[in-house]
Symmetry: C2
Subunit: 671 residues, 2 copies
């Protein structure tokens, strides 16, 4: 007896006959939370099995952390012992979910009773057994329910007609009441800690514009200010963006400052890289005086919000040699035997203008706290979104701690990970708490590459924690495709980013002005990169893509299908240069079909093939596709249809699919 | 500072920069052990990642439970941050394995040093940094190693030539020593409890024969005894079986005994079902006096072992109404309001001769202990293998407790689960501890069905815990295929079971005598089933398959490829009635190729296609296939070859593939 209790099974667990396994979603056995957005419905599935043939009851439990009470919804069996239940997450923050299940002895008994009656067997004793079950539950139920149950038990045990007793035994209200007070000793609780992080909707659907504030001055050659940036706001909002991301705005180091085009030695007039953070004027909590004051910044953030633009800041945890930390906290850096600080390097490359922090310092707790204070400081200035520079070069645990700690108090704040690194490290960072992630989109150009990569991101478990943000260019990445494809290449990559991803961003005005010259052949660096000098952009250039971008972003805003990543399907089209895919709104009402010519140089045509059934289209009826880019409407029939795209005119169709609802040949009748 | 330590990360974990995830094998996040057999090598893979670009060191740890010390083998990187390591399990019982990894700062430094030297950079300070690393490890290392390390440090800091210093810095012996004493504060230990159950080899590779002892008498109509069974041993061993499984051998109940063909009322002479366990003469720890004494049984077990036959007993935890437990432990049964015990039922079906135990009784601990004592009792009589009847109708926790408890003291004992139930329940029972499992093989007949099912069992995670035992028939299952296919059908199903599964079994002599008459059309029950009456079998019938079975089992014994389940590949063959597959020994030396005609009525022919590269065959050279069943040898050339099988002659080929090793046309030169 002793062994029985002590060694393998404590008595509590042993009697719980139902097992729960194969829970989805569940990341790494519950080690990491899944991600959702405010208002999402969460569907949970599990294998729920018991010995024998008894009827099972199962519930999905959920609560908002830290202190809301548990709520329960009943789960339903699908097939093959798979069960499903769902609930809605209505508030920002952290939720927990759990599952519980038990053998429902009363419903098992009801089922057997019915079969015995059907087979003409005597059920007199059987009815007494049922009355026994009811009496047992009566003992646990509150008064009113107990009284009701007692009445049913009396009927089953009484002298009434068999028909009356059977009707009572199978009464739905009795079944319901009996199900409400299960014997807690026999309930199996799924014992993993499953968490949900509920982010703002913008973490799922966002449209980013990156811009160097110092290049916003009205006059060429002058250092731009936050005031200049304010003047630029209508232009950016007019293109339909909702996040305006600025590279670091802090004082820039002087020591070992890089010159134009990353020259190792700077000229006196050179402004240096904004990522070489810190100078006499301050470090991570200061603004570069040439941009303005902290108050100017706050004013700018507020003005941006008025035109529905959230300002996103760059978090780059590294310093210039002139950063005040170097003197104030020498222990936060790694010193070499010659009493110099180890600058950033990736041998044989050297980044002498940047000192990495030593995350392995014995004073690590002080260092971590200070970085959290940096984030809190900017939150206090009104910032809600942070783009984190190279998070993969800082410890994973640091990010998990920082982000979860910040989000505890500010669940509306979110972080974008700029980790262009190995896949496992990228995914790990997302699991640890980053709400959005840069990814390999910039280097996925062919139909095969795009299909494979986006399928991995949107149709596998990855989607539970990794929200891609697709960037066709960044200040560090001018992809070869854009260098050689001309204006059509920019349009193609824009349409792909904006329709394959619910979140995407561009680095402007380089993007809308189709800047395409690399520093040297084979390089992905921009020539005369804005990272090292002030630029003056002619944003009114008639060749600008700003109107095209505005149109694409309006299409995104007006079509729910383009605002989430989960419902993306690729369809066959018999030309390798054409890619065809569709996205669906969750309710299925909004269907957007894209056809993109991946060849920026030549007209390409091909036959695509649509799964009419899946799209809810009647194969015997025509249906309308309405190009939201060019406003053309086509009447198609059947699954196979021909499309042709001239990249010089328009390299893509963004069709809204309209099912025919009346037979008249009147386009207004397509929904 | 306080929050940092208290809330999210204890300081110990925070500084461990390496993360370990995606470990394989690992069942349900470590909830269940994986299974191996004595002598197996276990290969473990994991994603091991750190921030930045530092060099990682990783080790696979393992130990035999409960008290052997941990052993370590180093893991090697594969690609994409995937690492691999392996070790051998040499003893029966339970092992644990774990993984640990850390950033190897010294090797990171060596790599950087080499790159800087290659780029012609000054490394004077760099060498001092290296000396610092060595000094640090010196402080942790034992005396002898510390002295050696000190010498190297001196060279790096000394006045010697650069070349000499570099040679010392990159010295493999230094690298090795430095790797042996990592700073334990920074080592990441994978924190799941991963266990291995190491079973005897027979749990992986076994050949079962089921037989009713009472039908073994030399004279028709007489109740067989263990002595009669002893006389039958050479016959069974002669066919090449190594497990002899007996249905329950206990006294059989009289109350509500079933008659022949499961008649509800028995004639006085009827012997009843052996699964109606318990009578005046005793229960689960007694033998039916008609079979002999307990001593006779032990003698029989010993005699069987002399001809390499392990006797497997049936464990059926249920009683007849006459079982002594009913009076001694009324609380172990479920009583109805009319003071009768609830007999087994699956409404509307009734099994009045059988009382199930009430596993939900308040006295469950007493009941569970008693069942363990039953198993221990038979272990004491010499039994090592148990076939468990309907385990899926008893609580899952019960089996987990029972089996792990028994195997703690008797790691050579193993259990076969007879759970013909829903897939999730079958798999769960295997995870909980059953070493072998009945499965759906009896109902998988077509090429598509066999390919799909065996691929699921042998090529997915299922194989880590579920070892199928394939039975073409059992006393409960005479599949339709055998009812209508005649003798060829029995040969076909035998070859499939014996070559698709490393473990298989037949219910004889029904099988070798090709008994094929069902109780009624559409039924899978045998007519005049041995479950309810004594049979007398003419085992010398010239139509018997005994010689064919003996040959197939000899082929299994002589070819390692057929003794494991993991290396099974299906190959294309352009006839739906023909199935082609191969199995490989672990070292790849033994390759067996099967072609089976699934049509028991007609000759079928077709072109098969072999992946020559995978098989190690030169596409330019002929190779020999040697049919181990019929002894024919064919010289094939290239991937496509024609085969034809007449089921009346031989419905299958079991080819041994022989690669050509000399060019002479002499068959002896094929290996």
């Amino acid at each position: 007896m002793t062994r029985c209790r002590e060694e393998t099974l404590e008595s509590g667990k042993a009697r719980k006959r139902v097992v729960i396994e194969g829970v989805k979603p569940e990341i790494d056995g519950g080690r990491f939370p899944i991600k959702r957005n405010v208002g999402d419905r969460l569907s949970v599935e599990a294998d729920i099995v018991t010995d024998g043939h008894d009827v099972i009851a199962a519930q999905l439990l959920y609560r908002r952390e830290p202190d809301a009470g548990w709520q329960a919804v009943s789960m339903q069996p699908l097939a093959n012992d798979r069960w499903q239940g769902e609930f809605q997450v209505q508030e920002l923050g952290r939720y927990r979910y759990a599952l519980e299940a038990w053998v429902d002895r009363f419903r098992t008994w009801q089922r057997g009773l019915q079969k015995k009656v059907d087979a003409g067997q005597d059920v007199a004793v059987e009815l007494l057994v049922g009355a026994g079950f009811i009496a047992e539950v009566q003992g646990r139920a509150p008064k009113a329910a107990a009284r009701k149950l007692g009445e049913w038990a009396k009927i089953l045990q009484g002298e009434g007609a068999l028909g009356e007793k059977l009707a009572a035994a199978l009464e739905p209200e009795l079944t319901r009441l009996m199900g409400q007070y299960p014997d807690k000793r026999f309930i199996t609780l799924y014992d993993r800690n499953l968490a949900i992080v509920v982010d703002p909707v913008q973490a799922r659907y966002s449209t980013w514009y990156e811009m160097f504030p110092r290049s916003c001055a009205a006059v060429p050659g002058v250092h731009g200010t936050f005031k200049d940036c304010e003047a630029r706001l209508p232009y950016i909002a007019g293109m339909g963006f909702d996040v305006l991301y600025l590279p670091p705005i802090h004082p820039i180091g002087v020591t070992n400052r890089k010159g134009k085009n990353n020259q190792p030695v700077a000229e006196p007039a050179d402004v240096g890289s904004p990522w070489a953070i810190g100078a006499a004027a301050g470090g991570h909590k200061a603004v570069d005086p040439q941009l303005g004051t902290l108050e100017d910044f706050r004013h700018f953030v507020a003005r941006a919000r008025e035109v529905n633009l959230e300002v996103a800041l760059d978090i780059a945890f590294q310093g210039s040699p002139d950063h005040p930390y170097v003197k104030e906290h020498p222990n936060w850096f790694r010193w070499r035997p010659d009493n110099t600080v180890q600058y950033a390097e990736n041998p044989p490359k050297k980044y002498e203008d940047i000192y990495p922090f030593d995350f392995e310092t014995e004073d690590w707790q002080e260092l971590w706290e200070e970085f959290k204070n940096v984030v809190l400081f900017w939150i206090e200035q009104g910032v809600r979104i942070f783009r984190v520079d190279n998070p993969h070069t800082k410890p994973f645990h640091f990010w998990e701690w920082l982000i979860s700690d910040i989000k505890k108090d500010y669940p509306d704040v979110f972080f974008l990970a700029e980790a262009f690194t190995r896949p496992k490290a990228m995914y790990r960072l997302a699991k640890l708490g980053f709400s959005q992630s840069y990814n390999y989109f910039a280097w996925r150009n062919t139909k095969w590459e795009l299909t494979r990569y986006l399928t991995e991101l949107t149709r596998t478990e990855v989607r539970e924690y990794f929200r891609p943000n697709l960037w066709p260019n960044t200040p560090d990445i001018l992809p070869e495709y854009l260098q050689f494809g001309g204006r059509p290449a920019f349009m193609i990559r824009l349409v792909l980013a904006a329709t394959l991803g619910a979140s995407y961003g561009i680095y402007g005005p380089c993007f809308e002005l189709c800047v395409s010259q690399p520093r040297e052949p084979g390089s992905e660096e921009y020539l005369n990169s804005e990272k090292f000098e002030i630029k003056h952009w002619d944003i009114q250039d008639p060749a600008s893509l700003k109107d095209f971008i505005a149109r694409v972003n309006r299409i995104r805003r007006e079509n729910a299908a383009l605002q989430c990543d989960w419902n993306l399907d690729f369809y066959p089209i018999d030309n390798e240069q054409l890619i065809c895919y569709a996205k669906f709104s969750e309710d299925g009402a909004n269907i957007i079909l894209m056809v993109v010519n991946l060849d920026p140089h030549h007209t390409q045509g091909g036959w695509l093939e649509l799964p009419l059934g899946e799209l809810g289209l009647d194969p015997g009826q025509p249906y309308q596709v309405h190009d939201l880019l060019g406003e053309a409407r086509f009447l198609w029939h059947g699954p196979r249809n021909y499309v042709e795209l001239d990249p010089k005119v328009a390299p893509a169709y963004i069709f809204r699919l309209r099912r025919r609802v009346r037979t008249e040949r009147d386009f207004d009748y397509y929904l």
